[in-house]
Point group: C2
């Protein structure tokens, strides 16, 4: 979707910082931290403030424009555009390199767990850890 539309359709003002964040997330091929977005932004255009990056990501999260697919090193949040696909990640414990897993092992189990627990399941997170081919050498 056109970046301007993403903003107008969610009732957000079209500002330079927001367009920058959208552009950076769009061209990134992996989830980014607030800090990474902030640094990337400085390269091209007038720097935007780090708190603005955080505030922008907060409101994007609330509007569903971005998601937090996982937490890096247990301390830092990562963000990607919400492509409305269901993805999981497999992360190398040594070098942190990650691969996306396209199929979801969880499909088909939802019903079983719902009938066992009487909960209504709305979503889930699955994170896998291991050693990548390169680190095995």
């Amino acid at each position: 979707m056109k970046q301007e539309l993403i903003l107008t359709q969610t009732g957000l003002k079209k500002t330079k910082p927001r367009l920058s964040v959208l552009k950076i997330l769009k061209s990134a091929n992996k989830p980014l931290t607030a800090e990474e977005i902030y640094l990337e932004c400085q390269k091209y255009e007038k720097a935007i403030n780090l708190s603005t990056v955080y505030r922008t990501l907060d409101i994007f999260l609330e509007k569903g424009i971005v998601i937090k697919p996982f937490i890096k090193n247990d301390t830092t949040s990562c963000f990607t555009l919400n492509h409305h696909e269901h993805k999981h990640y497999l992360i190398c414990s040594k070098c942190k390199k990650m691969v996306e897993i396209d199929f979801c092992p969880f499909n088909g189990f939802e019903k079983k767990i719902e009938s066992e627990t009487k909960y209504t399941i709305t979503n889930h997170k699955l994170e896998m850890f291991g050693i990548c081919p390169n680190c095995k050498k």
Copy 2:
């Protein structure tokens, strides 16, 4: 296992702070944060320092005495004794009540993902979210 043995068997000195942390984790019926352990500790015996709690949890984690059961989406880590069972959690988004799920939907998929990615999978975390029967009313 006896708490003293947990320490001696892993080559850790048997100290008051470590025994306290073990005792508190053992009697807790849910995962605790460092702060919660610290506060709980003050109730009974001579208070132990919060950094000692953190250092204790770090070394316990390294030795496999405790685990961090949740995929973190907030900012605080939780810890439980490692009972060497494989568990997942289903958490109510409203009241935060959680149930343990004993069977693991992931079994059987490990091989498939390993052959696809060439990673060696060492562990995984699965967290499900939903609405519990009580909150549905």
